[in-house]
Structures are given as structure tokens and as C-alpha cells.
Amino acid sequence: MLEHVVNGLVLGGTYALVAMGLTIQYGIARIMNLGFGDMIIAACFATYVLFTTFAINPLVALLILVPAGYVVSDLIYRILMKPLVARAPDEGALEVDSILVTFGLLFVIQGVLLALFGGGYASYSFLNTPVNVLGTVVAGNRLLALVLSLAIGGAMVVILFRTRWGMVLRAVALAPKSAPLFGIDTDRAARTAFAIGGAMAATGGVVLSMFQTFTATAGVVFTMKALIVVILGGKGSVPGAIVAGLLLGLVETFVAAYVDPGLTLAAVYAVFLVLLLVRPNGLFGKA
């Protein structure tokens, strides 16, 4: 029982982390990124290569891949998203355009990963030592993943809510039309937000790869789960994403443990459906 709670929190912590990235991208840059999960998977494979070929510790890989995720997303925004933002007559048009372009991006990233690594499962063994937590045994890598998720997620919350930089980003999320009146460069804020989202996808990928197997085609599932967490928590709400991420991780782990591991996605969908019917604006969303 307690074992499942711990495992659920580990999984949920990772979900919360990546969903925070997606909710920042959607809330501030107004871009619905369907290629998000594939960026996570790309980071998983990058960590895998760094660990198995160059013997680089995943914690060190984090220092390489998180800035890389930031730079790559920044470039994607400049090259692909900027023209779309510039030409979109309204928010609805941008939403449709960004969904379509990132759907194309999904196939490109997935195609590259398939060409490089093939379609099989990949994993590596890192810090696979049992640790005793409150009377149950948990793998060290899972515990480390939870600690990392909490630390990085917490740092992100502090940055967003306690710094001037974060306030600028939140202002753009809240009132994109009024923000320029206060001297805020909304375009730059959107690009920064998109890049931060990419950096968090990379973080999620590194953390996830420490304790889970992954395939080149698994991106869709991660995007889906991150999207559900974002909606569950309320669009653009960071605290909502954290609570909903942990909740989803727990639901998934308990369904896998007590019902059937093959039905976790169905359970996730069931949660999504119930929420859509009961609270379409999310747990923390405003009407």
C-alpha cells in the first residue's frame, strides 16, 4: 500500500514537472504544443546516450540537457512559432495553427528518434539500490527522481511567484493585451515561456529516464498525460498542475497495482472524462 503511494508520488512528481512546462507554454505563449511529449522522449534518449556511451551521470546530463532544451525550444519558437503569432488575427487562429504545426513537429521528432534508435524499448540502470523509506523499499533512482521533481518544480514556483521576471511572465498570461502598456515585451515573454517549457520537458525527460523504460513512439502518451494534467489543474495554473500531476500519478499507480497495468491509460482517460463533465474549467481554473 505505502509502496504504491511512494511510487505514485514519484510518477506524479514527474507528471507535475512536465505539465508545469506545458502549462507555462500554453498559458503564456498561447501555444498548444502537441510535440511536447516527443521533446521529453528526445531528452530520455539523450540521457541514455550520454550515460551508456559517454558514462555521464544523469545528474550531470541534467546540466547539459536543460540548457539544451531551453535553446532548442527558443529556436523552435523563433523559426516556427513567431511567424504564426505574427500572422494570427486572433487567439483562436493561433491555437489552430500552433496545434497543426506542432502536430507536424511531433512526426518530425518521432521520425528522427525512430531513425536513430529504432522502435524498441530502451532503459539504463542507474542508482538501482534499494532504499528503506518508512518501512517500504524503494529504488534509489525513484527517490532521487522525486527529490529532483520537487526541487526543480519548487524552484520554478519561486521564480514565477517571487521574482520580477516571473511577475512579467504572469502578467502576460493574465492580460496579454494590457501587458505592453506597462512596458512589457510580450513577444519576448512568450518566447521565454516557450523556452522554459522546453527546458522543463528536458528536465522531465532526464528524470523519467532514470526509472522508466521508454520508446521512440511513447511521446504521444506523455503529451496526452501532460495535457490532461494541465486541464485537470486549470489551464495556465501552476499550483493546479502540481496537484493534478500528483493525483494522476497516484491514480495510475493504484490502477496498475490493483486493477491491471494495461488499463492505466483508460483510467487516465476516465478521470479526464469525469472532470470534463463535472468541472470543465479544471480544479483550480476560473470560469
Partner: protein
């Protein structure tokens, strides 16, 4: 019915007769190509039937397509073929109703997200069912069909799809639809039951897509979830409909024919890099339309009216 529509019908009729005779004259390989093309023309037209006027982007084409194919795989030995098709259509319809009822009254983005994962959900659930309940993974379809038989069925379905699309465009229902596409709020205030119309259209569109999957299923002989729930199908349908223009009756056809031939060639020439090329091509198509896909659709509508 004026002279122009009459001419249009006569031309379309001749084209259909010619297309129906084609397999008797050309090789089996080209019949196969025609078959695949007709399949995609039908998929793209059915997709545009719903997504064109409502502007809800459905990413779930393959969920319905796969369900159709899988229904045939499961039932082909226990029932006569027409009944199997009927069952497939029924299952597709029920699934569309469930998805539509839970998402179509909300903002469009919820629908997109829901359909985005639907194929994966159905694929995993079917796999789970097969492994844990029926203890079979992968099924065989033994139906006495050659390529041309399947092709004729698809051609008939394509004709029906076009007729439905044409009839909706001319009816009172189509008028409501135009109002809905222009401005949903205004349409709702003018007494259009927005959700009901969206739902009805989604069910019609999805049922046709399910039938395309069901009819094409015998082509594979061997079927398993990873084959029939291939996300590339959703993706290709979307590109074709968008390239041709989802708002016009012939738009999806115009997009589907050249893209299908291109994809056929690409998948043979670059089997390992197919999805990369496909993705880049798709991004290019979205970009080449200078004022965004929605505005492009609007332009096409204005051009189509004058």
C-alpha cells in the same frame, strides 16, 4: 436543380463509371493504388464534413478507422459480411456519440486534446482485451475479396460520402452549419441548436470513417492493433483535407489525390525517413497558407461563392 448542377452530376456520374471500369483494364498494382487513393479521398472528405464547417480539428481519424477494421477482424467468421459492416458502422456510431456528447459542448481545444489521445486509448484497450479476455493477439481475415472488390465498395462509399456532403450543403441543416461556422455565438442566438448539429455531423463523419476501415480490412489478411491504429492515417487525412481546403465539397479530393501519390512514392523511396518528410511537408503546408489555415478556408469560401 439548375443546369450547372445537372452538368456537374452528369460529369461526376461519367467519372464514377469510368473509375468503376478501371480495374478491368489496369494491372493489379494500379488497382491497389486506386484503392488506397479512394480510401483516403473518402477519409479526407468525411473528415472535412465535420471539421470544415465546425473548425474542430479531429485528430482521431485512425481511432474510428481502426475500430472498423478490427470489428471486421473479430466478426468476419461468425456473421455474413453485410451484417459485419453494419455492426462496424454501429460501433463507430456509438463511439462517436460518446466522444461527442462529452466534448462537443466545450471549447474546441478540449475536443482536440480528447481526440489526440483517443487512438492510443482505443489501441491499448483493444490490446488489453485481446491479451486478457480473448487470449488472442492478432487475427486473420479470410474473406473472398480481391483488390477490385474492395475498391468497388470503397468507390460506392466515396460516392455516398460526396452525396451526403452535397446534400448537407444545400439543406436547411447546411444553412445552420454555415451560420455556425461564421460565428457560433450568433448562430446560437439565432436559434441554431449548436451542440446537436455538431454532434450529428461528428457521428455521420465518424461512421463513414469507421466504414472505410471496415471495408479496407480484408486487404491486410492479418490484423493486430499496432497495424490498424497507425497514427499516420490520422495525420495523412488531416494534411490532405487541409491542403485541398476543408470547406469545399471537392477540396479534400483535390488535396488527397496528389498527396496520396506523393506519399506512395515517398514511402517506397524513403521507408526509414517517411515520418520526418511527412512532418516537414505538413509544417510547410501550414506555412504556405499565408494568413493561417482558418483564413485560407475563409478565402476559399469567398472564392467558392462568387
Amino acid at each position: 436543380m439548375n443546369m450547372k448542377t445537372l452538368h456537374g452530376f452528369a460529369l461526376a456520374g461519367v467519372a464514377v463509371v469510368l473509375l468503376a471500369c478501371a480495374p478491368l483494364l489496369i494491372s493489379d498494382y494500379w488497382t491497389g493504388v486506386l484503392l488506397g487513393m479512394t480510401g483516403y479521398v473518402t477519409l479526407a472528405t468525411a473528415w472535412a464534413l465535420f471539421s470544415g464547417p465546425t473548425r474542430y480539428i479531429s485528430l482521431a481519424t485512425v481511432a474510428f478507422f481502426g475500430v472498423g477494421a478490427y470489428t471486421v477482424a473479430v466478426l468476419n467468421e461468425v456473421m455474413p459480411y453485410p451484417l459485419v459492416l453494419l455492426c462496424a458502422a454501429g460501433i463507430g456510431m456509438i463511439m462517436a456519440l460518446m466522444v461527442g456528447l462529452s466534448t462537443l459542448r466545450l471549447a474546441g481545444v478540449y475536443f482536440v486534446i480528447f481526440t489526440f489521445g483517443l487512438a492510443e486509448l482505443v489501441r491499448q484497450t483493444v490490446s488489453w482485451w485481446e491479451v486478457n479476455v480473448t487470449y488472442t493477439m492478432g487475427r486473420y481475415i479470410f474473406l473472398p475479396f480481391e483488390g477490385r472488390h474492395i475498391y468497388w465498395q470503397l468507390l460506392a462509399l466515396a460516392v455516398v460520402t460526396f452525396l451526403i456532403s452535397w446534400a448537407i450543403g444545400r439543406s436547411r441543416f447546411g444553412l445552420a452549419l454555415k451560420a455556425l461556422g461564421d460565428d457560433e455565438t450568433v448562430a446560437a442566438h439565432a436559434g441554431v441548436d449548436v451542440t446537436r448539429i455538431k454532434l450529428l455531423l461528428f457521428v455521420i463523419s465518424s461512421t463513414i470513417i469507421t466504414l472505410v476501415g471496415a471495408i479496407q480490412a480484408p486487404r491486410w489478411t492479418y490484423i493486430e492493433p499496432s497495424i490498424v491504429f497507425n497514427p499516420t492515417v490520422s495525420f495523412m487525412t488531416l494534411i490532405m483535407a487541409l491542403l485541398g481546403g476543408a470547406m469545399r465539397l471537392w477540396g479534400p479530393l483535390v488535396g488527397a489525390v496528389p498527396l496520396f501519390l506523393l506519399f506512395e512514392w515517398l514511402s517506397v523511396s524513403f521507408p526509414d525517413h517517411f515520418s520526418i518528410i511527412l512532418g516537414l511537408l505538413f509544417i510547410l503546408i501550414v506555412f504556405v497558407m499565408p494568413n493561417g489555415v482558418l483564413a485560407k478556408i475563409d478565402d476559399l469560401r469567398k472564392g467558392g461563392r462568387t
